[in-house]
């Protein structure tokens, strides 16, 4: 019986590789929106706003010359102090995000392994997510010492939810039959987690990461507003100072750079995601 010759029959074709490729046309859309945005900005700062309010919104070229092209002037004006503040906030955002990732993903793993724990913790996660940080600041100030710790806590509170919910959703997304394959081999819970659930969760984890990364930057800026001390302050505190002193060009420069930080972090995780799962993750656009 075992002497039969095994000659496999001819095989059907491999499905051709069709992936999203970036092309020149992908940049035209954003460029058009940018020009429209600049146009509207000019419209407001030169025509729409009444004369006495125009100092609030300097024209784009004034922002470039007074905000971006002045390196240092006085104690707080110029690009250098803005960049120092930005770096200070970026550090808080990144450390906070790292804490969020470790804590959030561990929590999701625990929740995925126990229906009871999932039920027990879910309402509180939603509560943290929906509680306005502004309302929590007095409590944070009273309970925790140290500006840096307070700022980190704000970041963690704001960025936590998307990581937990997306990781949990991903961990629970593996097929029943895939689970049964592991059951049949007597795989341990740990093996199942590492070799099945975690890889299956990666696309969702990256979605959560991108959202949380953006939120971590927001959290850092918001934290700066409420928790600051002498010396170099975060970009949020810096923005608050510019607002108080009615320094429009510096204010807008700081806002643009803070948004850029959020964008850079978002793009970075998009890049990591493509590197990590781009080869196998299927994107369906329906056309």
């Amino acid at each position: 019986m075992s002497s039969t010759n095994v000659t496999p029959s001819p095989i059907d074709e491999v499905i051709p590789d069709k992936r999203d490729k970036f092309s020149f046309t992908d940049y035209i859309g954003p460029a058009i929106i940018f020009l429209v945005f600049i146009g509207i900005w000019y419209l407001f700062s030169t025509i729409v706003l009444p004369d006495q309010k125009r100092f609030l919104l300097p024209t784009p070229h004034k922002v470039v010359t007074d905000g971006f092209f002045v390196w240092h002037s006085g104690e707080r004006r110029g690009l250098q102090p803005i960049l120092l503040s930005l770096w200070d906030s970026a550090k808080i955002a990144l450390i906070g995000l790292s804490i969020t990732i470790v804590v959030g993903m561990s929590l999701a793993v625990l929740m995925s392994s126990s229906r009871w724990l999932e039920r027990a913790t879910w309402p509180y996660l939603v509560a943290i997510q929906s509680a306005p940080v502004l309302a929590l600041t007095p409590l944070i100030r009273a309970l925790i010492d140290g500006t840096q710790t307070q700022r980190l806590l704000v970041v963690v509170l704001i960025a936590m939810f998307p990581i937990v919910s997306n990781t949990l959703f991903g961990l629970l997304s593996a097929d029943k039959s895939q689970h049964e394959l592991f059951t049949l081999q007597g795989a341990s819970k740990w093996t199942r987690l590492v070799k099945l659930q975690f890889p299956a969760a990666l696309p969702n984890i990256f979605v959560g990461l991108r959202i949380s990364a953006g939120l971590a930057v927001i959290g850092a800026v918001v934290g700066d507003f409420y928790f600051r001390q002498g010396g170099v302050v975060g970009i949020g505190a810096q923005i608050d100072v510019y607002r108080n002193r009615l320094w429009g060009a510096e204010l807008i420069t700081a806002i643009i750079l803070a948004s850029t930080l959020g964008l850079v972090v978002f793009l970075f995780f998009g890049w990591v995601s493509r590197r990590a799962i781009g080869k196998w993750h299927i994107i369906n656009r329906g056309h």
Partner: protein, 233 residues
């Protein structure tokens, strides 16, 4: 076998399969065919009766290919060896052999999304073959494939069956597939699942495509079809 909610899925089902035997079960949807496999593989605990099987040496082929999309063909085929904690060089050697057996050479580094349905099923077969199980359980593995691919994979599986000499328990909806593959065909009725007819298939292996058009083949299919109609009533 009775489920928690009281549905009796299997009643008085008795069968034994030896090495070199390929037994196929046909029956209406929901008659408990799959339950039979799930009890045999211990995915479901039986509530009565006995089941004697070498559980350390089961190959289970699911309805869908159940490949891990994040693993290449080669890494997918290695999976079960990996779960049995074989070392890397050993797994790679076994996987290469299995890939060779199902004719997927040259596709080792492709991801499942790049493969057609038939090729995914081949990869799935190769994965079950790696540990050279003595018992193979097939839960309608080719049900979702087109006719031609299905026939090709039937031939493929028969070659593997002759090569490895395992004991096979195969579930299908297709009478032709059942007769073509098996040494024995069982017909089940629904609620509770009972074996209402047993047919020995007399054709010698290796079987070839043309067997499907022999009068004796057609006659046997007719008898089974008749029994199945009885099962539906």
């Amino acid at each position: 076998m009775t489920f928690d909610e009281g549905t009796k899925a299997l009643d008085n089902v008795s069968l034994s399969i030896n090495a070199g035997e390929f037994v196929t079960v046909v029956g209406p949807s929901g008659c408990g065919k799959s339950t039979l496999l799930r009890i045999a593989s211990n995915l479901e605990a039986n509530t009565g009766g006995t089941c004697t099987i070498d559980r350390n040496s089961i190959g289970y082929v699911f309805q869908d290919a159940t490949l891990m999309p994040w693993r290449t063909v080669a890494r997918n085929v290695e999976l079960i060896a990996e779960l049995h904690k074989l070392n890397k060089s050993e797994r790679q050697k076994l996987a290469a052999e299995a890939i060779d057996l199902v004719g997927l050479n040259g596709f080792e580094d492709k991801y499942p999304r790049q493969l057609s349905g038939g090729m995914r099923m081949r990869a799935s077969l190769a994965r079950s073959l790696v540990m050279k199980p003595k018992v193979f359980l097939f839960d309608e593995p080719f049900g979702a494939l087109d006719e031609i691919t299905r026939e090709r994979l039937n031939d493929e599986l028969l070659r593997l069956f002759q090569h490895e000499g395992f004991a096979g328990l195969f579930i299908t909806h297709s009478i032709t597939e059942a007769v073509y593959m098996s040494t024995k065909v069982l017909v089940m009725s629904a609620r509770p699942g009972k074996i209402i007819a047993t047919f020995d298939v007399p054709f010698a292996y290796p079987r070839t495509h043309d067997l499907r058009y022999e009068p004796e083949f057609g006659e046997l299919c007719g008898k089974i079809s008749h029994a199945l109609r009885g099962a539906h009533e």
